[in-house]
Amino acid sequence: MKFRITHSTFYQYSQQVGLCQNEARLQPRDFWRQQCHASRFEINPEPSDFQERSDFFGNRVAYFAIQQTHQRLTVTAISEVTVFPRQIRNELVSLVTWEQVRDQLQSQSQSSVGWATPSSMAGQTQSQSQGQTQQIDVQDELLEAKQYLLDSPMVATSIELANYAQSSFEPGRPLVEVVADLMQRIHTDFTYDPTFTTIATPLSDVLHFRRGVCQDFAHLAIGCLRSFGIAARYVSGYVETLPAPGKQRLVGADASHAWFAVYVPGTGWLEFDPTNNTLPFDQHITLAWGRDYTDVTPLKGIAFGGGQHSLSVSVDVLRLD
């Protein structure tokens, strides 16, 4: 499935801005089920400094600075992406239990041998870990996955999250089932309400009031999974929307979207969309992934001056074939 995505952000200021620096994660990354053929920015006023790189998580980042005074700023990213209709579906995946996954993720530091020497202050060593000779690939993948077990700026594990997730984590249940069940429950228990949350709403409020948007639901699921020792990451992107039967497709009425992915050792990352209660397939276009929203904020910037600012966003996901 091939798409053209146009994502525009407009800023308007009440006073002149003398300088602004920005970081955009608006260019889709490549991975096994997606390829980005072309991606470009249209920025007005034109930035005097523009630099692309990839970040710690492998996402594409563009840094740009507008160094002349301006009172409005438009940032548009236009990308063409093919999403392949592929899914991880092997038998192993549907059999491996969540406990097995949890134990494997912990194995690296837990299977360690050696003793601390508590009686003296000298020569004290921490346990030596094993596994140095194991396959490097799996090790690297595990190592990478393990960082998604830890608390991140917007997602901290807690007893409350664990309590909510508890009923999905039946002993001996395959992980895929656990996550599907959790996704289903979030979809049922929580009300989609864009007026309730902002970027800064803490997860505990989302859990307490059972309301939120896609970002909150993704964070919620990630927090639940991490509370049980399962590695989960946040995915930002878009989802194709189809017009209601007989209606014209509305240009620019789409929006950015977020979901999450779960790591299964030896297999890879399985994606889940709790907002829509679906498994992302060929209509989910991925921009970037990270520990949570803060790692993949599509566009952020610091402006000097400017007074009050207003901003609006328009997204268009157009199917090309």
């Binding site: 952000t9 800023y11 003398g18 300088l19 620096q21 920005n22 970081e23 400094d49 630099q51 970040d55 710690f56 840094y63 600075a65 160094q67 690296q108 530091s109 837990q110 360690s112 003793w115 601390a116 508590p118 202050m121 000298a122 020569g123 004290q124 060593t125 921490q126 346990s127 030596q128 870990s129 140095q132 090790q139 190592l143 960082q147 830890l150 608390d151 594990t157 989609y192 864009p194 970027i199 948007v213 896609c214 970002q215 930002s236 989802v239 929006a255 950015s256 979207h257 907002t275 829509n276 790692d295 566009l299 952020k300 910037g301 610091i302 402006a303 000097f304 001056g305 600012h309 901003l311």
Partner: protein
């Protein structure tokens, strides 16, 4: 001799020892390297030593050596405390410590480079990834950012203590922005003044070599302008606990002291915003925590950093010491792995062991910790304010249970350490020497020739016996540290031995726009205080006169002056809008104007503002000038604010206050070069002087009064503007309004006149650097020209025509109000043109993702 010993308590000292002592070890005899020193101290005697101790405190206070305590509601900087007995370390022992510190710095540098580079330690399992990734000091955006360099960890510091068995241990490593080297230097400076003869004969190593290495090491980091790099010290500002040191080091090393908003990133380079425009910055000595340094890529709420800084680092356009992300080394969990890492990287055992540490992220260690809680000190790997270290032995069984549950929930976030005892050192407390637990903070700097260790350091002791907490926050006492040399150490001058053409070329230090702003306001505050103080001094005697003589004119005059007091200090309602009783018994309100520091406009609050503004640019003042600032503020605080003084005493203190300011002005005029800095200070003074004078005239003589009252008021006016004697000499006649106005408004030769202020302002403004169109005047030049010309065109005879209906001198009022207006406009224009850091940065709110359903 034995009597002298008894005098300082040396006999008694030995009986109080419990553990290893630095002076006597485990014996009862003073160690050889202490003998000579203790002999000299004993000869000096307790009384002399106490005098020297006080002298040290005086010097430190006058030099402005302070340590700010966060959360101190008084906002007062705490004076630094120095014990007159240093910690002595023998040269043999120092050789071991020095080698150990160098080894440790090398090792930590390798760890740092690996964590932000190839991460082999994580991949090979030598360092658990959770330990690194869960630490707040690990900054994801900094991975892969460090340029290829011999060493990344430029400045390093370690806290050392000696255990019961006499071995030195490392308590913790400091890699974020180690502080204390400046305090160590200041301690040394003071010690060589209070006991110069003892210092000379003891042959201790000097410290200047270390600072020379620091300069060299920092200069070598510069990616550009290697011959003459611009190095800045980035400080969070004057409220930071170690701000004194930032200012002190900047001026000692000849670097520019800046705050985040003094810098800007353009074209991927860092620039200093100065009055002369943008100046490139090559190296930043960072005293701001790394996560606060770039609101774009790191902590977005930070106002202390520079947006785009990390991008400039990424492009290798600026070097930061220590690099962003280096606080990852302060993770206490790392201590558990250092022996292994030392063998891996260096194939060596650690020469200086760390305190025994167990990281709870591993099951075996965790089980051990949970079973032995009562012997342990438990710390989270991330230092947060509030709960830092918990002593297991002090917890109730319920608290222990809670702690166990907390650790179990996120075991990788906790470490446990063995509770260690420190050795004691002699400290001079209450007139005799007593043993106190001590911690030595040592300092290391990287240069191209390797790591260099300061031969000395900052020793701190607890104030109370048996107290292990020696931190400054907890009120500890500092000590100088003397590393004994085999032969006398030559004094290395920081300045004379450097190749001048290599690092130093005689350039004018750029004045940051923030410093310019503060200088301007120092000038404004001081003139405001002077004007209020002079007026108050003028009216206080009238208060007693009016009561004694009972002449209605005296009373009326007093009332006008009291109202003027409210007007020029802006302390409404004050004497103006309140009920009549305030005017009848003005004493309370006058006292409040003198001593209430919580009310804007009072003398106390203006003096506080003056001192704080001066402190925030501590680096621009000479030692003498600072002493002057300190005296002004401390005396007023002691005598007036914290004391119940009467109006008579107040009169005397006002005299002193004015003298203090005159001394300050004299010193700045003597010691400041006539560059942008001085221009700013003096422009602030002139502007405020003009505003205050205009305000006083409007409050006193614009209203037409009975002749007798007017005469009294005119005299008071001349007294309050310090112009009475000049009036008498010049006019040799009775005091009359036209002549008074001519003297105070028009007389350009009179330094208290409005014309003089405007003339000076005009000259300063044309000297300030500014981009101008050809032949065109800048906006501020236009304004001052207009003000000056308007004044010059005035005829005094016009001014004294009375509008009979209103009962005011309306022409005079028109002139004065027009002047006020122009002067305020002038301030706005100057602020916009020169104090550009005032442009407030804002976070452009990230877009809220919205769903499609």
């Amino acid at each position: 001799m034995s009597e002298a010993n008894g005098d300082i308590g040396a006999q008694y000292y030995a009986t109080k020892l419990g553990v290893y002592d630095e002076m006597v070890a485990k014996e009862t005899k003073v160690l050889p390297h202490w003998e000579r020193f203790m002999g000299s101290i004993a000869k000096l005697g307790s009384e002399q030593l106490e005098l020297r101790r006080r002298e040290a405190q005086r010097l430190l206070r006058e030099n402005g050596v302070t340590y700010n305590v966060y959360g101190d509601t008084q906002k007062l900087a705490r004076p630094w405390r120095l014990d007159p007995i240093p910690l002595l370390i023998s040269s043999e022992e120092w050789a071991l410590i020095e080698a150990g510190l160098k080894q440790r710095a090398e090792l930590l540098d390798l760890v740092l480079r690996d964590i932000y580079g190839k991460q082999q330690l994580l991949k090979k399992g030598l360092l658990p990834s959770e330990l690194v990734f869960a630490h707040d000091g690990f900054l994801h955006p900094c991975v892969g950012v460090l340029p290829e360099k011999q060493r990344q960890l430029t400045v390093y510091s370690a806290n050392l203590a000696r255990g019961h068995n006499g071995r030195m241990w490392v308590l913790d490593d400091r890699s974020q922005a180690p502080s204390g080297a400046g305090y160590a230097l200041e301690n040394r400076t003071v010690m060589t003044r209070i006991i110069p003869e003892i210092f000379r004969e003891t042959q201790a190593h000097r410290l200047s070599g270390f600072f020379k290495a620091l300069r060299k090491g920092l200069a070598e980091l510069a990616p550009h302008n290697k011959e003459d790099p611009r190095i800045v010290v980035l400080t969070p500002g004057s409220l930071n606990e170690t701000y004194f040191e930032h200012a002190y080091l900047a001026s000692y090393l000849g670097f520019t002291l800046v705050q985040g908003d003094d810098l800007t990133v353009r074209d991927g380079r860092v620039w200093l915003k100065s009055l002369d425009g943008l100046q490139p910055v090559d190296v930043i000595l960072r005293r701001v925590d790394d996560s606060f340094c770039d609101p774009l890529e790191l902590r977005s709420s930070s106002r202390l950093g520079v947006a785009g800084l990390l991008e400039a680092v990424r492009r290798n356009n600026v070097a930061i010491a220590n690099p962003l992300g280096s606080s990852v080394l302060e993770n206490p969990g790392l201590l558990a792995f250092l022996p292994r890492l030392s063998r891996y990287f260096l194939n060596e055992e650690l020469m200086l062991p760390s305190v025994a540490t167990w990281w709870c992220g591993q099951r075996r260690e965790r089980d051990f910790v949970l079973q032995n809680l009562e012997r342990m000190v438990i710390k989270p790997i991330n230092r947060t304010t509030g709960n830092y270290a918990l002593f297991g032995g002090q917890l109730s069984s319920k608290e222990k249970e809670q702690l166990r549950a907390t650790i179990m929930a996120k075991p990788h976030c906790y470490v446990a350490q063995e509770q260690v005892g420190f050795s004691t050192v002699p400290a001079f407390i209450d007139h005799r020497i007593e043993p106190r637990f001590a911690v030595l903070r040592s300092f290391v700097v990287a240069t191209s020739e390797g790591y260099q260790v300061m031969p000395g350091g900052l020793t701190r002791v607890a104030r109370q016996q048996d107290d292990f907490i020696v931190s400054n926050q907890a009120g500890g006492i500092s000590k100088d540290t003397w590393v004994l040399a085999d032969e006398p150490d030559k004094q290395v001058s920081l300045w004379t031995q450097l190749g001048r053409d290599v690092i130093l070329s005689a350039v004018t230090e750029p004045l940051t726009s923030r410093a310019a702003d503060n200088l301007f306001w120092v000038g404004r505050h001081l003139e405001r205080i002077k004007a209020s103080a002079r007026l108050m001094r003028t009216l206080l005697p009238k208060l007693t006169e009016a009561q004694e003589l009972d002449d209605p004119v005296d009373g009326q005059c007093l009332n006008v002056l009291l109202c003027a007091m409210t007007q020029i200090t802006g302390t409404y309602p004050g004497f103006i809008l309140s009920n009549a009783t305030v005017l009848e018994t003005p004493q309370n309100e006058l006292m409040a104007l003198a001593k209430n520091s919580n009310r804007a406009g009072t003398l106390a609050s203006s003096i506080q503002a003056f001192a704080q503004t001066a402190f925030s640019i501590r680096d621009v003042w000479s030692q003498d000038t600072w002493r002057c600032v300190d005296n002004i503020q401390r005396r007023w605080q002691q005598r007036v604010v914290n004391n119940d003084c009467d109006l008579e005493q107040l009169q005397k203190y006002l005299d002193d206050l004015i003298t203090g300011f005159v001394a300050f002005i004299g010193l700045t005029s003597e010691s400041m070069t006539r560059e942008a800095g001085w221009l700013m200070l003096d422009s602030g003074r002139r502007l405020e002087h003009a505003l205050a004078l205009v305000g006083l005239l409007r409050a006193t003589v614009v209203q037409r009064h009975e002749l007798a009252l007017q005469n009294q008021l005119l005299e008071a006016l001349l007294v309050a503007t310090d112009s009475l004697s000049i009036y008498r000499r010049r006019y040799r006649s009775f005091i009359q309004l036209p002549m008074v106005l001519e003297l105070l408004l028009m007389d350009e030769t009179h330094p208290r006149s409005l014309a003089y202020q405007l003339h000076q302002l005009s000259a300063h403004i044309s000297d300030l650097p500014r981009e101008r169109g050809k032949g065109q005047l800048s906006e501020e030049e236009c304004l001052i020209l207009r003000a000056y010309t308007d004044l010059r065109l005035v005829k005094v005879s016009e001014l004294v025509k009375v509008d009979d209906k209103a009962g005011v001198y309306s022409e005079l009022e028109n002139l004065l109000s027009a002047m006020t207006e122009l002067l305020w406009q002038l301030y706005d224009v100057i602020a916009q043109a020169y104090f550009s850091h005032s442009q407030v940065p804002q976070l452009m709110t990230p877009t809220q993702p919205e769903d499609d359903l």
